[in-house]
Symmetry: C2
Subunit: 361 residues, 2 copies
């Protein structure tokens, strides 16, 4: 006997069929809910199955049907509330449609993402949802798609991939938020964002569309209002709060510090607030703060944060809808779903001190 724990043998269709006194085919039909079975036969089979504690063997079934009723969900980090909410939306809809979900974290590492895709292919999942770690490295995604798995991209786009996508208009949303800052009188607006370079790829490129787009929106807002773009006010670290905290301290320590800070997601916002506190500065008196994503705690900090909220749960839910539709046979050109965002004005923005003192910038 091998060292592996012996999985007790569960009853099989022949077992059930025998007990019910019918053929395996009839038992299978009753159990599987397909074909036609007389009411009496069905009942006998179902009773026998219950008595025996029969459980369909999903692997055996999927070998024949070619479907696993399983979906893959590939995210950077489930500990991040954004991904947790996306995943919740995704699993809720998937489950309602009869699909189970295998969850994989990549930590933004393209290598992990590749490995994840391989595993999911081995499992022959019917579909895969990905928040891609790179907008340029996509051969592994295409390969998985080519082998027949439905594919949907969430939150981030991949230009070279013509598949269903669920995003928000990050550029427009960021622009709106920054314009709000400008309207309050800010001219020096710092941007603290996530990853610039993807681990495993050549440095010096911004590879995640959300970062690119939010940065683009930021620049658009500045340009539209004749505010100079200063590269030194843009800090790209990673998606963890500590980097954001350090970047914030650096930014605010400049001789000519920004009067407002734009955090491009809620985790970064946490770091930004910590950095501000490290310097014993106050929001919004010393520095205004605006962020992307409306996390649950943002209305509890003092002052509450002005944010652009995005429908995070729906991002995942809609992705699952698209994906299950494809799996169930829907055919058609790639769908690009763009969900609406909403500006929520709260107390974290004030006019810069200079303006308040009457010295218009």
């Amino acid at each position: 006997m091998p060292s592996a724990a012996r999985k007790r043998d569960l009853p099989t269709i022949p077992d059930v069929a025998g007990r019910a006194g019918v053929s395996t085919a009839t038992a299978a039909r009753a159990l599987g809910g397909y074909g036609s079975v007389s009411a009496t036969a069905r009942q006998r089979v179902l009773d026998a199955a219950t008595e025996l504690g029969y459980r369909t063997n999903a692997a055996a079934r999927s070998m024949i049907t070619g479907q696993t009723r399983t979906l893959g969900m590939v995210v950077a980090d489930i500990e991040n509330t954004f991904f947790a909410q996306v995943t919740r939306g995704f699993t809720d809809v998937a489950r309602a449609a009869g699909f189970d979900v295998i969850l994989v974290n990549t930590d933004e590492r393209i290598e992990s993402e590749r490995a994840a895709l391989t595993v999911l292919q081995q499992r022959r999942v019917d579909g895969i949802a990905v928040t891609p770690a790179s907008s340029t490295s996509s051969e592994h995604l295409r390969a998985a798609h080519d082998t027949g798995a439905a594919l949907v991209l969430i939150d981030r786009r991949v230009r070279a991939l013509a598949v269903d996508t669920v995003t928000v208009n990050n550029r427009a949303a960021a622009r709106t938020l920054v314009e709000h800052l400008i309207a309050a009188g800010h001219r020096r607006i710092g941007l603290v964002s996530g990853i610039a370079d993807v681990v495993g790829e050549p440095a010096g490129h911004r590879h995640i569309t959300t970062v690119d787009d939010r940065l683009a929106g930021y620049r658009q807002a500045l340009t539209a209002h004749d505010v100079a773009f200063r590269p030194e006010l843009v800090c790209l670290g990673d998606f963890h709060r500590d980097a954001a905290r350090a970047n914030t301290v650096t930014l605010l320590g400049r001789p000519d510090p920004p009067t407002a800070l734009f955090a491009t997601d809620s985790t970064i916002a946490l770091g930004v607030l910590e950095g501000i506190r490290d310097l014993n500065l106050r929001v919004p008196d010393d520095v205004s703060v605006a962020a992307f994503d409306d996390a649950d705690w943002m209305n509890v900090v003092r002052p509450p944060l002005t944010v652009v909220a995005q429908p995070v749960y729906d991002l995942g839910a809609e992705a699952a809808r698209l994906l299950t539709a494809r799996v169930l046979g829907h055919d058609g050109p790639p769908v690009r779903r763009v969900l609406p965002t909403r500006l929520i004005v709260r107390g974290s923005i004030a006019a810069p001190a200079a303006v308040r003192r009457g010295r218009s910038s």
Copy 2:
């Protein structure tokens, strides 16, 4: 052709074997990494596999081996940071050991939990981790365990089930925290907690061990310091912030309101802070606050919250270690792992106003 999307046929072992010019057995051995294969044969097979884009069919393999290399993770709600962190710890260790994880949310509903267990049995997962929705309804857990799936309980115990468990000492931790409150001079301490009754079970019972234990710790602390236990200061709602918020407003609206509030988890703490704000009260001047779980935002609110921190990630990680060990053949009596907690004193606790004014209670 059926309406279902056709999954392109991936190459199989015969395909690879043919291209490599060996038998299917040899190809399978090389691909599966078992038995003995000559170096040359192995290389030819591996090359052929790469050229063909061969991917092992996990279902076919597991039909024979009896192992799926899949684990189930059943949590109440992945959106809750606690479960998200647990899940991260769990998946990290599982992945490192070569196991994939199927995630299921139950929303604390025992019915969902039963359904989840059934699904996981159908998939013949090798092991299941559960944060059980009830400490008493456990037949479905036992049933799954009896059919051969390894089982580990996380965070919450189930008395009637002799399986591996990873928890913290909730009673001791709660007691420590409440004693800290008492030491600060508090005598009327409100407790705001999660679910009391489990959906789908008769009302009037508290069925989740974490709630029970934290409440027990609270009472122990009171008793040990001759503080009267007042049932009306204990509010059991559900695990969502809105209930906690409402309960907080109710508690603080009493003629004889508590001078301190104990929130039994971080989501509830959020509701407690909102409730306090609804009443325009200040922490800690008007009311002190202490909580279970050190969420990422707790150090960013003003004042930062005093908490009992538990090693949430490790709860999941250790569970995965225990589970994979069982799957890999470890045999032995159930392991009850109790991880350490830590009191983190921050600024949310002050002496009650009456004490500060010199009118000792």
